[in-house]
Symmetry: C2
Subunit: 166 residues, 2 copies
C-alpha cells in the first residue's frame, strides 16, 4: 500500500458540513421555540431524513468500539437510496470522514471532522462516509436510516489510504 | 381541585410499556447483529415510527427544564396522526406518564414509569401522555415525531389530578 496522506481534522460546524448533510444540535442557528407551558425549548426539524418512496425511516442504536489513533482510512461507503443520521447518546466526541456524493473518492477528496458529544450528523443520500468512528470508549448512537427494498450500501477501497492524526 | 390520587412509579420495561408503544434501548431482547467489520453492534429498528400518508418523520431536540417533585399531573395530551419518540441525549433519567389510546383518561387510568438514561420511549399514535418530565437537571432529548397537515395535538385537563412521588 502506498504511503498514507495525512487527513487534517476540522471542527464540525453546520456551514462546513452543509455539502454533506446536516449537523443535528440544539443551536441558536436552528429554528427553535418554547413549548409545554414554558418548560421545554424545541429545536425543530434538524435533519433532512430521506428514505424515498420505497423506504421508511427507522431508528436503531449503534454501539461502537473506540477506534485506535492514528486511524488509517482505507475504505468508504455510501447509501444511494436514503440518508443516515448518527446522534451520540453518551455525549462523547467522535470522528466523521466524508466525501461529496458522486464518483468514488480518492484520499485527497476526503474531509475529516471532529464532532462534539452534543453534535449529531446526517449524511445526505449518496454522500460517501466512513463507518462509525467512536473515540475514547464504547459509544452508543441513535441511528436514523432507511429500511426498504433495493441495494442501499456501496463500499469502495481507497487506492491510497489517508491517516487521521489528532 | 379535588385531592390528588397518588400515582405509583414503575420501572420502565418493554413488556410493561408495550400497550403504549416502544422502549428504545440497546437490549439483548431487541434484534441485533454485528456490522462494520466487527466494530459495531446494531440494535435494529427499535420503534414503530408512524407519520401516516400525509406526514413525514422529523428529528428535533427538546431541551427540558427539570420538574419539581412531587409533581402533580393535571393534563394529558395525544397525537392522533402519528407516533412521538423521546431518546435521552444526556443519559439522564426522566418520568413517563401514559394512558391507553381511546377516550380521554381519568387519573385512575394513568400509569407512570421511571425511564433510565439509557432508555427512550416511543408513544404509539393516539396514546395519551404527559409532556416531557425531565428530572435532576436540564436534559436534552432527540424527538422523532410527525410533520404534516392536520391537527395532531389534543390536550385534556384531568377532572381530578394525580400526584407523582418518588
Amino acid at each position: 500500500m502506498s504511503e498514507a496522506l495525512i487527513l487534517p481534522v476540522q471542527p464540525l460546524t453546520r456551514e462546513r458540513f452543509a455539502p454533506f448533510g446536516d449537523v443535528i444540535e440544539a443551536s441558536d442557528a436552528a429554528r427553535h421555540f418554547t413549548i409545554n407551558g414554558g418548560n421545554t425549548e424545541r429545536y425543530h426539524d434538524l435533519a433532512n431524513l430521506a428514505a424515498g418512496p420505497e423506504g421508511r425511516v427507522i431508528a436503531s442504536i449503534f454501539r461502537g468500539q473506540p477506534r485506535q489513533l492514528p486511524f488509517v482510512v482505507e475504505m468508504m461507503e455510501r447509501h444511494p437510496l436514503g440518508s443516515q443520521a448518527f446522534v451520540p447518546l453518551n455525549a462523547q466526541r467522535y470522528l466523521v470522514v466524508v466525501a461529496a456524493a458522486g464518483e468514488a473518492p480518492t484520499a485527497d477528496k476526503l474531509q475529516c471532522f471532529l464532532a462534539l458529544g452534543t453534535q449529531g450528523v446526517n449524511y445526505a443520500t449518496g454522500v460517501w462516509h466512513h463507518p462509525l468512528l467512536a473515540l475514547d470508549s464504547i459509544s452508543d448512537f441513535l441511528v436514523l436510516d432507511r429500511q426498504g427494498s433495493g441495494a442501499n450500501c456501496d463500499e469502495i477501497q481507497l487506492a491510497s489510504p489517508a491517516k487521521i492524526v489528532i
